[in-house]
């Protein structure tokens, strides 16, 4: 009963959010909110997608930038070769990201988490090297992209991208929420706590990890795909920037990974703090804040913001009463 009511509330909320976003694109004329909002929405999508594997299953992916970059360059390559529309670019990026997730997962998810983590760092560098040597998409020099004309009902491309990214956020959150409430979520939580015990209780751990890795990879790549059109430019060092990995990880862990709302809160908080800090402090102190917050939360508030807000999660997490 309550589950059912929760669902209604959730979908109503999602609809209200999308309608609000859509009407904002129609009413607000100043373009800056869309530029800045796009970045924050992108971080929400990344953090939520990251936490499907990193939070629910406890496998730390340092390669968010690899999947992100793959999304960007899938879009670039496809657009340059065929002029495919944005929707197709995003779908293709999701497919490629999913395939990549499957490959890495198959290779390393049998082993302990640390091997997976290191393999994802390796992945980012190998793919970046590959893209740097790929002249068709501009190689190391990067590539400038001309946007196609904007589609109705939008009057500017950035507004459209803002809406598209909002849609991706809704998709990512609904998938995360579905997983969390389904037996997949319970299985992931079990294997995160104890892999052998989970196996012996009937949980197909490898399969679930692979599924999580594929979904997470697909969503990260999909969230990265519109970046090519947003920047109208792509270069390997920006597309594969390590800061995507640090941010996604920090936002998810700071927000808390036991519930899908955690990464959303973390991304909104850190994303807007970063936008604010970028305007006020222009030194490395800005980045330092992110690192210190990450370490403080990891050490002091293992369940993140939602753990602090909702004692239930603290209770669930706690070793001692």
């Amino acid at each position: 009963m309550t589950k059912h009511r929760n669902s209604i509330v959730f979908w109503a909320g999602a609809a209200v959010f999308l309608i609000a976003v859509l009407s904002m694109t129609q009413i607000v004329r100043n373009e800056y909110p869309f530029f800045a909002g796009y970045v924050i929405l992108q971080f929400i999508a990344l953090a939520v997608a990251w936490s499907i594997l990193g939070g629910y299953a406890g496998y730390v992916n340092f390669g968010t930038n690899a999947f992100f970059g793959v999304g960007v360059y899938t879009a670039v390559a496809l657009f340059k070769a065929t002029g495919a529309p944005l929707v197709v670019q995003i779908a293709a990026a999701a497919v490629v990201g999913m395939t990549l997730g499957f490959g890495v997962g198959l290779l390393t998810l049998r082993m302990r988490g640390i091997f997976f983590s290191i393999a994802t760092i390796a992945l980012a560098i190998i793919i970046e090297t590959f893209v740097m040597n790929w002249r068709f998409v501009g190689g190391a020099a990067g590539i400038q992209i001309q946007r196609p004309p904007v589609m109705a009902p939008f009057d500017s491309y950035v507004k459209m991208l803002f809406f598209v990214q909002a849609l991706l956020v809704v998709i990512a959150v609904s998938i995360a929420r579905y997983i969390q409430n389904s037996r997949i979520g319970r299985g992931l939580q079990a294997l995160r706590d104890d892999e052998l015990a989970a196996e012996c209780t009937g949980v197909p751990t490898l399969k679930l990890k692979l599924v999580a890795c594929m979904i997470s990879g697909a969503l990260i790549s999909a969230a990265g795909a519109p970046a090519a059109m947003y920047l109208q430019y792509a270069d390997p060092s920006s597309a594969f920037n390590l800061s995507y990995s640090v941010s996604a990880l920090a936002m998810a862990l700071i927000g808390g990974t036991a519930h899908w709302i955690g990464p959303v809160l973390g991304a909104i908080l850190l994303g807007s703090t970063q936008q604010l800090l970028a305007v006020t402090i222009s030194s490395e102190v800005n980045v330092l804040v992110l690192g210190i917050m990450l370490v403080l939360f990891v050490v002091g508030a293992p369940k993140g913001i939602i753990g602090l807000l909702r004692p239930r999660y603290r209770l669930r997490a706690g070793g001692k009463p």
């Binding site: 939580q189 079990a190 706590d193 015990a197 989970a198 012996c200 209780t201 009937g202 490898l206 669930r316």
Partner: protein, 245 residues
């Protein structure tokens, strides 16, 4: 799909399995059949290969040679979760609860993935198992708050949630007081009365004697005695093996 096992065929057949780690042979050509509904005791000194054997049965390890046949099906190469779905469940020597979950949720994992059809809602099934185990009052407690005996019971309850044909209990009484030992033992015996085959690894001899219909003793990866409890306890090599350590 699987060929129907003959009515009197053993539930579990361990066929000549050998398991080595590097140069160390943990199990040396072990064969044993376990009947349906049997209460089977497994004893032996530390490092004799008891846990390795049940790891090979439950799927945590795979033997180098030999096979494991369950209900007439060769499961030697199957991963643990598929064995669990076929009806093999276990508890662990050192309890391994899902720490971020409540007791009830721990059971729900097994119910979720064992794929047994039931007309009752899963939560009700879980509650009935907990009631059976005397843990009903702890259903919504986090596992971190449980006492040692409650943890042991929770592990057995979680194993029961898979609705096993074969339950393997790995030293479920270690570190418990004698009244608690009796409590857990009674539980196991009552489970055995419900047509569940049980393999019990135990160091506490009275418990083994009271529980088992048949006992097997391992030493250095070999079977040194198998038979009725009193018979095995009277065996010279068994006594030596125990005194020797």
């Amino acid at each position: 799909m699987t060929p129907a096992a003959a009515p009197d065929a053993p539930l579990l057949q361990v066929g000549a399995i050998t398991k080595t780690f590097g140069g160390f042979t943990a199990l040396d050509n072990i064969s044993v059949d376990i009947r349906k509904g049997e209460r089977f005791g497994l004893i032996g000194p530390n490092g004799s290969g008891k846990t390795t054997l049940i790891n090979c049965i439950s799927g945590a390890l795979r033997p180098q040679t030999g096979n494991v046949i369950f209900c007439g099906e060769d499961i030697t190469q199957l991963p643990p979760h598929l064995r669990a779905r076929r009806g093999i469940a276990r508890s662990f020597q050192i309890p391994r609860p899902f720490k971020s979950m409540t007791v009830l949720e721990n059971l729900m994992v097994g119910l979720d993935f064992a794929k047994v059809d039931s007309s009752l809602p899963e939560e009700d099934v879980a509650m009935s198992i907990l009631t059976r185990m005397g843990l009903a009052s702890k259903a919504s407690a986090p596992t971190g708050t449980l006492s040692q005996v409650e943890l042991r019971k929770m592990e057995l309850a979680r194993a029961m949630a898979v609705r096993p044909k074969l339950l393997i209990s790995d030293e479920a009484m270690a570190g418990l007081s004698s009244s608690e030992v009796d409590e857990v033992l009674d539980l196991l015996i009552s489970l055995g009365e419900e047509d569940i085959t049980i393999i019990m690894i135990e160091h506490i001899m009275q418990a083994v004697m009271r529980f088992s219909e048949r006992v097997m003793c391992l030493d250095a990866g070999k079977i040194i005695a198998i038979g009725a409890p009193a018979e095995v306890m009277g065996n010279k090599r068994v006594q030596e093996a125990y005194l020797g350590t």
